[in-house]
Symmetry: C2
Subunit: 191 residues, 2 copies
Amino acid sequence: MNSRDLLKQHISKTITLTDEQFDYFYSHFTPLSFKKGQTIISEGDEVDCEYFVLSGCLKAFFINDDVKMYILQFAMPTWWTSDYNALYSHTRATINVDCITDAEVLCLKSADREKLCAEIHQVEHFFRWRTNRGYVASQKRLLSFMNNDAKKRYEELLTLYPELYNLVPKHLIAAYLGISRETLSRLYNAR
Amino acid sequence: MNSRDLLKQHISKTITLTDEQFDYFYSHFTPLSFKKGQTIISEGDEVDCEYFVLSGCLKAFFINDDVKMYILQFAMPTWWTSDYNALYSHTRATINVDCITDAEVLCLKSADREKLCAEIHQVEHFFRWRTNRGYVASQKRLLSFMNNDAKKRYEELLTLYPELYNLVPKHLIAAYLGISRETLSRLYNAR
DNA sequence: TTAATTATGTGACATAGATCACGTCGGGAG
DNA sequence: CTCCCGACGTGATCTATGTCACATAATTAA
């Protein structure tokens, strides 16, 4: 499927736009291609875009003072990603986004998103629901963190996103689960 | 400040409504009073409202199979709370909301929120931004969970919401931090 | 192809935090 | 006033997970 249709199909799950409206909406997106390992957002950057993933897999991650990595989100096709904290509060990026595999994305400038939201009520509705879903997912992950041990969280992740198992290296899965790569290795090799 | 002005001031930080629009908006809210300890949402309930806190303090919490409590959110004046997962996906409540102190709230039915969002573009804008902020806060808390030990999380909480220290019992703070009340006690008694 | 990274497995040990057990204190119900 | 229960403190263990060290496999670069 081409990028236009992928985006159209995606937003059609939440709202209905006329062809004319969608063309206008789509005209604000810029397609970009990245190679495996390339960085899209670095800590300290000014952030003024968010990204809709067309193909490949990205990760949004935080590096702490001990240079340990924590993955906030994997982003696969039809997922959106950015440093939303920086984007909404107009501060410098505190997280990084880079490519786990070669990837194609559509880039939407924050100013254009706000313009589109103001111009087309349905678009505002779409972004409200997208964030709603993100918020609920984030709450669930938080709960899982508090309630479940590493093993359960690992099983939960694989149930939710089985494709990750072969797609991303184990140490990145560990960084998503918030455990060390050694512990993860011991978990699925059943000790 | 009366409830109308409190809500008005709150939404005015994000959007501007005419007096007429605000009166219409406000007419969809129902004021409710609760006593300390009263339950607002129980696991298994059908959820069709969200709540804007006017006074007092609520908690939104999850009880796991071992009857251990995890607090997802404290809700103080001008905060919104509900079981958003249940509310948005039209499923039964999996979390509970009750009153840590006597409390007054404004209740907004989910159907009315959607109606208002559809009728008044600015209202949709308001709710989009409210959820944006919630999403970012939730991501930050998740990161704090992965990156910081119990002590740092405790200090972070007290820096962010110093009023909690005297307002809510320590075992509830522990339930928010995801640690046992014993560990919390040892933390702030510096041992 | 070969060399150099990078990803992964596994043992030994360290440690934050859980759990259990018990004691004290203070405030609300009767 | 007294009694009781919920909040809180603290010692003694236990356990999941981290950390460090080293070995090997699998990719990538050259």
